[in-house]
C-alpha cells in the first residue's frame, strides 16, 4: 500500500517536471555531447562554443532560449537515450550534437522518428545525414577530409607508399581510412601504394603489435584516423619502436590531450580540421575568437567554432521560419544558404552537409600551428 502511494507521488513529481520545462515564451534547444569517456575532450570543447553562442545570442523571435545539455558518455546506446530524453522530457524543438560519428548515427534515427531536426557540429561520416531528412551538419564530410590528407601525403610529404591504422570500432575512423585510401590510390594510380592496413579498437592501449607489422611493410607515411587519446598513445609507441616516418591524422586528433599525451613524440604530425583561429575566414570568425578568448582565456578549437556555428544555424533557421515548430525549423535548415559562421560561409547541400574549406594543422613546438587551407573540390 505504502509502495503504491510512493509511486503515485513519484508519478506526480514526474508530471510536474514534464510540465515545468516548457513555457510559451521559451524555446528549448537540446545538446547531446560526449562529456565523459574517451571522447570527452571533443564534447567539452564543442560545448564551450555552444555555451558562448548561447550567451551571445540568448533570444530568438523575442523568446528566451533554454539550453538542455545531456552527456552521452561516448556510448552509442546512451546517445540514442539522451536524444529521446531531450525530446520526451525536455520538449526541445531542435538539437545540437554530437562529436563522434558513431554517436550521431545512433542518435539520428531517434530524432528522425520524432520529427525533431538535429544540427551536427562535427560528425563527419557521410552516413550521419544520408537518408536522414532531419540531420544536418555544420562541417564537411570525410570523403573531403580523406582527400585533404591524401593530397598532403602525396604532395607535401612526397610519399608514394603509405600505411593506414584505423579504429575498427568507430564508423568515423573506418570511413575516413576508406576515403583516404581511395583518394591516395587515385593520386598515385597504383592500388599497391597503400602498402598495408591495420586495426585496433577504442579503449585499446597497446598498439605495438600492429605497429611492428606496419613497420615491416616499410611505409613512407602512416595515416591514423582515430580519436586523439588513442592516436597520441599510438604515435608514442611507434616512436618508441623506432618508427620515424611522418604520421597523419584527422580532425579527431585536435584536442589539447593529443599534445599533452604525445609530448615530443607528436611533433610534426599533420592533421586536417575545420577551422583555425590563426586563419579567420569571416567577420564572424574574428568576433567569435575575441569573445571566446575573453570568456575562456585561451584560443578556441575547431570544435568550439563548430558548436558555436551549429547553435547559431538553428537560431537562424527559427528566425527565417518565423516559427518554433520543429518541422518548420527543419525546412528552414535545409534551405540554409551562405550563412556567415565562424568556420566559414555555410550552405547546405541536398544531404544536409555543409560544403566548406578544410584546414591543415601541424604540431610545432607543442602547439597546433596553421599549415594551410584546402578548398572544396
Amino acid at each position: 500500500m505504502l509502495a503504491k502511494k510512493f509511486s503515485l507521488i513519484f508519478l506526480l513529481a514526474l508530471i510536474l517536471v514534464f510540465t515545468g520545462t516548457s513555457f510559451a515564451d521559451e524555446v528549448n534547444i537540446g545538446v547531446y555531447e560526449p562529456l565523459t569517456g574517451p571522447m570527452a575532450a571533443g564534447g567539452q570543447m564543442t560545448l564551450e562554443g555552444i555555451r558562448l553562442a548561447h550567451e551571445m545570442y540568448p533570444t530568438v523571435l523575442g523568446k528566451e532560449v533554454r539550453l538542455f545539455v545531456e552527456d552521452n558518455k561516448t556510448d552509442k546506446a546512451e546517445a540514442a537515450l539522451t536524444v529521446s530524453r531531450l525530446i520526451e522530457l525536455r520538449r526541445v524543438v531542435a538539437i545540437v550534437g554530437t562529436y563522434g560519428s558513431s554517436l550521431a548515427m545512433s542518435g539520428g534515427p531517434v530524432a528522425e522518428a520524432a520529427g525533431i531536426p538535429v544540427m551536427g557540429c562535427s560528425p563527419t561520416h557521410p552516413l550521419v545525414t544520408q537518408g536522414n531528412d532531419y540531420y544536418f551538419r555544420a562541417c564537411f564530410i570525410d570523403p573531403f577530409q580523406g582527400y585533404i590528407m591524401a593530397t598532403y601525403a602525396y604532395e607535401t610529404l612526397g610519399a608514394r607508399r603509405v600505411a593506414i591504422i584505423q579504429d575498427i570500432a568507430q564508423d568515423y575512423s573506418v570511413g575516413l581510412a576508406h576515403f583516404f585510401r581511395q583518394a591516395f590510390v587515385e593520386l598515385t594510380g597504383d592500388p599497391a601504394s597503400v602498402v598495408g592496413m591495420s586495426s585496433y579498437q577504442t579503449l585499446d592501449t597497446d598498439f605495438t603489435a600492429q605497429l611492428t607489422y606496419l613497420r615491416g611493410l616499410d611505409p613512407e607515411a602512416i595515416f591514423a584516423p582515430g580519436y586523439y587519446g588513442d592516436v597520441a598513445l599510438l604515435i608514442t609507441q611507434a616512436r618508441e619502436l623506432g618508427i620515424g616516418v611522418p604520421f597523419l591524422g584527422g580532425d579527431a586528433c585536435e584536442a589539447p590531450e593529443f599534445i599533452e599525451i604525445g609530448g615530443a613524440y607528436v611533433e610534426g604530425v599533420a592533421i586536417s580540421t575545420h577551422y583555425s583561429a590563426d586563419a579567420p575566414v569571416t567577420e564572424e570568425s574574428s568576433k567569435f575568437v575575441a569573445a571566446f578568448i575573453e570568456k575562456y582565456g585561451y584560443s578556441p578549437s575547431a570544435f568550439a567554432a563548430l558548436g558555436y556555428d551549429a547553435y547559431r544555424l538553428i537560431l537562424d533557421a527559427i528566425e527565417r521560419a518565423d516559427s518554433t515548430d520543429p518541422q518548420a525549423i527543419r525546412d528552414a535548415l535545409a534551405e540554409t544558404y551562405r550563412f556567415e559562421g565562424a568556420t566559414g560561409y555555410i550552405t547546405m547541400d541536398e544531404d544536409g552537409n555543409a560544403v566548406k574549406t578544410g584546414v591543415i594543422l601541424e604540431v610545432k613546438d607543442g602547439e597546433f600551428v596553421y599549415g594551410g587551407s584546402v578548398e572544396p573540390r
Binding site: 565523459t36 575498427i168 585496433y200 579503449l203 592501449t205 597497446d206 607489422y213 613497420r215 615491416g216
Partner: protein, 299 residues
Amino acid sequence: MSLTHFFQHLANGVYLGSLYALIAIGYTMVYGILRLINFAHGELLIVGAFIAYYGILIFHLPWWFSFIIAIALGALVGVSLERVAYRPLREREAPRISLLVSAIGASFFLQNLGLVIIGGRHKSFYRPPFFAQTVQLGDVTVMNFLFVLPLITIIILGIVFFLVYRSKTGMAMRALAKDYPTARLMGININRIIAYTFALGSALAAIGGIMYALRYPAIHPLAGVLPGLKCFIAAVVGGIGNVPGAVLGGFILGMLEIMGIAFFPHLAGYRDAIAFIVLIIILSFKPTGLLGEQVVEKV
C-alpha cells in the same frame, strides 16, 4: 615475418604479459584468501595511478616518492572500501553473490566518483625519462622499462609469497582461506586479517596501476575497466586463487594478444577475439585454470 620482427613481437608480448601478470597477482591473492572477486580492482588501479599523478602535479613530489605515497594511499582506499562495502555484508552473513554485487557496485561508484571529481578527459601521466629511453638490440627496439617491468613482477611475486607463506599474518590469512569459523575459534581477529589482505591487494593494484600508466601514459577514470577485466580473466585462466597461476595467465594473455596480430595481421581488429578463443579452449580443457586445483566443497 622476419626473425627481427618476430623478436620485436616477442619483446612486445613480454611487456604486455608482465603488465597483465602484475595486475592479476592482486586479483588472485584477494580471491585466494577471501573467495571474493573484487571487481573494484580495476578501479583501484586507476585510484593508484591518479594519486601518483596528482602527487607529482600538485604537490611537486619527486616521482618515486609520489609512487610510494600512491601505493600507501591505494592500500588505505582498499581498506576503506572493504570497511564500507564488504564488511557490513559479511557481518550479516550475506551470501557470496551479494558480496559480488556489492563489489560491482563499488566499481561503478568509484568510476562515477572519478568522473565527478576529476572529469572524463584524459590526463597525461608523467614518465621518468629513464623509463622511456629506448635500447637497440640488433634491430629490435625496446624501452628500458621492458627490463624493469618483469623484474618488478618477479619481486612482487616474491614479496607476496613471503607475506602469505612465511609470515605469521600470512598463516592467519591461509587459515582464514581454509575455514572461517575455525580460524575465529583459534583466536584470529578475522576483521583485522581481512583488512590486511585488502590493504595488500590494493597496494598491489596501485603498483599495477602506476606501471600501467607508465606504459600507457593517458589516464582517465574509466581507464581501469579494460585492464581490470582482462587481468581477472588472466587470473581465472591461471587458476584463480593461485599466485603463480596469475603470472602465467597474464603472460599467456599478453602473448596471445600480440602474437595473434603478428601471425594474422589482417585480423588485427579481432585481436581480443583471437586471444579469448584460445583462452576458452584452455578453460574447456582445464576448467579450474592451468594451475588451479579442484576445490573440494565444504560440507
